[in-house]
Symmetry: C2
């Protein structure tokens, strides 16, 4: 029974990978940098994204966001306040987004007019690591309130990500957060990964995060 | 393909439920109250459990703990400091514990000598909701740093739990946590659920939490 489940799951994954590949080609052809944000529930994906969408828009970039949740459209409503196109993907209890869901929700957007597409995944530090959504950049967020050990305990998601963003830095002192320990733990599972420390509340590190996005767009989509 | 996957998953779940049922009978016969702790990564399951194990032991209760993690045995080592039997269940990347894993790890413990068995699930607010581990009490933890909206966004896990424990109350002010909103959101998905507000750091609410456990043991295992 176990073997059959694994085999079929692998089939589902491969199917997902195929759809993700097509999606990535479509997005690249349109010159869109696509960012998949993954983290625990409550790490602050929506808060950072709210600020990111607003700042990019003010800089003249064209941005949009897809937001995955098991239930409610709270996050989509929060993000829509930034005045950019936002769509909710309701996973109906499922613990992760899949490439097909992303593809379905892009169908009526003109990708050629877009610079950045953000995908806020379901809050889950385990399952989303297995699903390619066609993104260029997988960004794992870790809040200072969660503890420095999370990269070691959830290695798959840190290992599969391209950038780590530390969030809620304004609470670092109150939480006695040891940033050097966190950096060392991230480096242990993903040597050399870029780490940006931010607070969506105080604004610390937001410019560095925006520069990181601009550099990635430049290096990954140049000549496309 | 989808239908087959679902069908087989249902099979896995039913098999799990059967094992859980047998486990629950065994634990009840031995007079053990079993508590399954579920939450996001970093909510503070281990910190609360450390304190709970120590206090119960000092009160003369016989306690033990199983700790699920995708990787590392950090939590088991932290809990073992309380001087009680602790075993790590390494899920090898899997996103939840299953009843068979619990059963396997109990095989060499004398359950008749135990009053309380705690099971610390993998940090994940989605998948563990579907897996009965033979527990009497499913306790969902929510830290003040995660935001008041989580019960609405992860309704399955709150709905399937018996008790909600708010953690890190010492950070409530710094996080501008609105406890009334959190209570209302919990009540919206699980009307009447008992809610205990705690801080493992300051000790706030720990006695109320211990009383809650004693009352549950009394009411659920009376006459056993």
């Amino acid at each position: 029974m176990k073997a059959r489940v694994l085999e079929i799951r692998k089939g589902v994954l491969n199917k997902n990978d195929e759809i993700a590949r097509g999606l990535r080609e479509r997005l690249h052809a349109a010159g869109v940098l696509t960012i998949n944000l993954v983290s625990s529930p409550g790490t602050g994906k929506t808060a950072l994204l709210q600020r990111t969408l607003r700042e990019l828009r003010e800089q003249g970039s064209s941005v949009a966001a897809l937001v995955g949740d098991l239930a409610t459209d709270n996050d989509a409503r929060r993000l829509a306040e930034a005045g950019v196109p936002v769509k909710q993907i309701n996973t109906d209890g499922r613990c992760h987004l899949e490439a097909q869901m992303v593809s379905d929700h892009l169908s009526d957007w003109d990708l050629d007019r877009l610079d950045y597409l953000f995908i806020e995944n379901v809050g889950n530090l385990v399952c989303p690591s297995s699903y390619d959504l066609g993104e260029d950049l997988r960004v794992v967020l870790l809040s200072v309130t969660e503890g420095e050990d999370k990269p070691l305990k959830y290695p798959n998601i840190f290992n599969s990500a391209d950038v780590a963003v530390l969030t809620k830095m304004d609470l670092a002192e109150a939480c006695e957060f040891d940033i050097e320990a966190a950096r060392a733990n991230i480096a242990a599972v993903r040597p050399g990964m870029r780490i940006v420390s931010t607070s969506a509340k105080s604004g610390v590190g937001v410019q560095e995060w925006l520069s990181c996005l601009a550099e990635e767009k430049q290096s990954r989509l140049v000549g496309v």
